[in-house]
């Protein structure tokens, strides 16, 4: 039953990372040490509301660590990828590569 095993690879993929907007955020955070909200917004092209909601989901899953401070009167949000987030991303890439190798 090799075929069903092959399909089960993609069925078991991490759906939290698989969503395109979150994929963009998590990928960017994986190549830098940390980034603020504005840079993430400019790099990914997401709107403030969208980015905020995706960051919250990633934070709740423990993939991203959020630090909220104030710069003068303005809020300043800095995000960084946690070890769990990095591990999950590595696993996600491995799974996708494995699945795509069938094509």
């Amino acid at each position: 039953m090799k075929a069903s095993n092959d399909f089960s690879i993609i069925a078991g993929i991490n759906r939290l990372i698989h969503e395109p907007a979150r994929m963009a955020v998590i990928s960017l955070l994986s190549v830098v040490e940390e980034s603020d909200f504005t840079f993430l917004m400019n790099s990914t092209g997401l709107t403030q509301g969208n980015l905020s909601s995706h960051l919250t989901k990633l934070e709740e899953a423990g993939y991203v660590e959020i630090e909220k401070t104030f710069k003068g009167k303005r809020p300043h949000t800095v995000a960084r990828l946690t070890d769990t987030g990095q591990k999950e991303l590595n696993q996600y890439i491995k799974t996708i590569k494995e699945f795509l190798s069938y094509f």
Partner: protein, 209 residues
């Protein structure tokens, strides 16, 4: 289409975002223009006005202030990993050494301490070409600033071109015209990039939550 986006490629692309505001083009362009004008005056034994000698300092300060207070606020803050800082340090060392070495070579050549008119002239030009191209290619690699590849080639060809132009110009300018042209090109592209950047990334009301 190259779909092979690895973490390394993504990091490089992210790093290149920092050049989008054109400040680096403006700084490097100003440096080349001021350098070429100063060297031109020096070659022709014309007294360099004091303001010309120190002009780069206020320009770099002004551009740094623009970067800190205008463009960085719009593009946002990002801290790269340690490997990037290492690359930055290597770039700084390469650039400083190259600038010092090139200045010494230029002054020696202008003062006639280096005989460039003997039979080894082409060898000198070849060494100069290899040196300039290598330095700028190294800088391009470490800084991710792709224009350094073009600048390196243009600079490398500067001296052979000036050798050919010497009979027509009467004086050997050691590729200074090319340095000036490249500087002007960078200055112009920096202004255009800055305008595009300011339009593309307006200062937004921050509703981070």
């Amino acid at each position: 289409m190259n779909n092979n986006i690895t973490g390394k490629t993504l990091e490089r692309k992210t790093y290149r975002m920092l050049y989008r505001d054109g400040i680096f083009d403006l700084s490097f362009g100003s440096m080349l223009i001021i350098y070429s004008i100063n060297m031109y005056l020096y070659i022709n034994n014309i007294d360099t006005p004091f303001i010309m000698r120190i002009l780069l300092v206020p320009i770099v300060i002004a551009l740094s202030l623009v970067k800190i207070f205008i463009t960085q606020k719009r593009i946002g803050y990002v801290k790269f990993k340690r490997s990037r800082n290492k690359k930055r340090l290597i770039s700084f060392i390469v650039a400083t050494s190259a600038l010092m070495f090139t200045t010494i070579i230029y002054i020696l050549a202008v003062k006639g301490k280096m005989d460039a008119s003997d039979k080894n002239e082409w060898l000198h030009l070849l060494i100069e070409f290899i040196f300039l191209v290598s330095v700028f290619f190294l800088l391009a690699y470490f800084t991710e600033y792709n224009k350094f590849y073009i600048i390196g080639l243009a600079m490398g060809f500067g001296s052979p071109v000036s050798k050919y132009l010497e009979p027509y110009l009467g004086t050997r300018y050691y590729g200074l015209a090319l340095v000036f042209i490249i500087g002007t090109y960078l200055l112009a592209s920096g202004i255009i990039l800055l305008i595009i950047f300011l339009n593309r990334y307006p200062e937004t009301v921050n509703n981070e939550s």
